[in-house]
Amino acid sequence: MTKIEMTVNGRAASGDVEGRTLLSSFLRDELKLTGTHVGCDTSQCGACVVHVDGEAVKACTMLAVEAAGSEVTTVEGMANADGSLSVIQQAFQDHHGLQCGFCTPGMVMSAAALLKENPKPSEAEVRDYLEGNICRCTGYHNIVKAIMAASGQDVAPVAAE
């Protein structure tokens, strides 16, 4: 076992892990942050996306020891300081960007990474960025709409009304 320390959602976190412990397992089982979902565990679905030092990564495809010393943000760290939903989260609610909600943590984290890189993406850019986030419920249109709305853009032209 190796003792690791990192900052998770602004707070110091530590724990003992094996070499093979995945970041997703460390967050969920050790830190009890179960907002990070594991949909496939084969690097395909994006439900487990978190930010490590500001970059979106699949937490099921990174070893916990590799995140030692890093700043990690999970969906639990996305709400505003007063506990209200962030602009992106609120937009998902307003535009029905979720149904069962299983993919939502990964969608929100990918959306946040996209908007940091590209604050006013086109619809095509949003769809392209979500390539690695799979949703079995919504058909994506409302997720795209929510992200367009969160970027402060008009959502009326979004396809497939």
Partner: protein, 262 residues
């Protein structure tokens, strides 16, 4: 996953030393290796993580004008920073998805040599040089068949050097489930001739389409490819497409690549 130790060296020298441990294996971005370990298709005792080796990360221009990419440089960094070679940056920007690009590395992609991966086409098409901790390997000698390379046990890719062509383009026909290339073609035009490298198609992995190279070297236009075709024999045949379909796609994608820059 079976358990293993993880070494986190900070220099190439320490990484090479760690690779000397019994049943050690390099860990790049883990985007291929971690899923492989989960399936218990590999069982190293030690993983040597290269992501903390600063001298193996980043993009620069060498004294000879070549583009140098550190072996542990992520696809996202190449997409953002390899501005001297736009076709290569564009190729990197379409590998997998954003989260894969933030972890996956050029060294990992080349060491793995997946028959449908993008970098093998970019490296062979450019006539790049694969630099390891012990030697320099020309692209033409490096790729030795599906998942097979010239690398020796324990050898680490520290850098890849690309000559910059006059014009180049990569065309990827995406296999939407895997996000790899169903077929991908990299065309690069140099002063002394044109190189055409094909991924996703052959059962032997990435290869150069020499007839197309000859035709394009004398006339760099899509029309020069009229009448040229490849046989479906020896091409990958699976539920996504037959060998004949892939052979046809190679010609189509090659024309598109030339059209994009001619």
């Amino acid at each position: 996953m079976y358990n293993f130790d993880v070494e986190t060296p900070g220099t190439v020298a320490d990484a090479v030393a760690a690779m000397g441990r019994d049943e050690a294996q390099a860990l790049g971005g883990g985007q291929t290796l971690i899923p492989t370990l989960k399936q218990r298709l590999a069982s190293p005792s030690v993983l040597v993580s290269l992501s903390g080796v600063a001298e193996m990360k980043g993009v620069c221009t060498g004294d000879d004008g070549q583009l140098c990419i550190g072996g542990a440089t992520t696809h996202a960094t190449v997409a953002r920073e390899a501005t001297q070679y736009p076709a290569l940056a564009a190729m990197a920007s379409h590998i997998g998805d954003p989260a894969v690009r933030n972890r996956g590395t050029i060294g990992g992609s080349l060491a793995n040599n997946d028959p449908s991966a993008c970098y093998p086409a970019g490296v062979l098409g450019s006539g790049a040089t694969v630099v390891t901790n012990t030697r320099e390997i020309a692209a033409d000698d490096y790729f030795q068949g599906m998942f097979d390379t010239a690398l020796d046990e324990g050898e680490i890719i520290t850098e890849v050097r690309f000559p910059i062509p006059e014009a180049a383009n990569y065309q990827k026909f995406v296999q939407p489930a895997s996000r790899f290339a169903l077929v991908g073609v990299f065309v690069a035009k140099f002063a002394d001739g044109v190189r055409v490298a094909v991924t996703g198609a052959s059962e032997d992995g990435v290869f150069r389409w020499s007839e197309a190279e000859a035709a394009l070297s004398s006339d760099f236009s899509a029309g020069a490819l009229d009448g040229l075709s490849l046989s479906g024999d020896g091409m990958i045949s699976d539920l996504h497409g037959t060998g004949a379909y892939r052979a046809h796609l190679v010609a189509v994608m090659t024309k598109r690549a030339v059209d994009a820059v001619a």
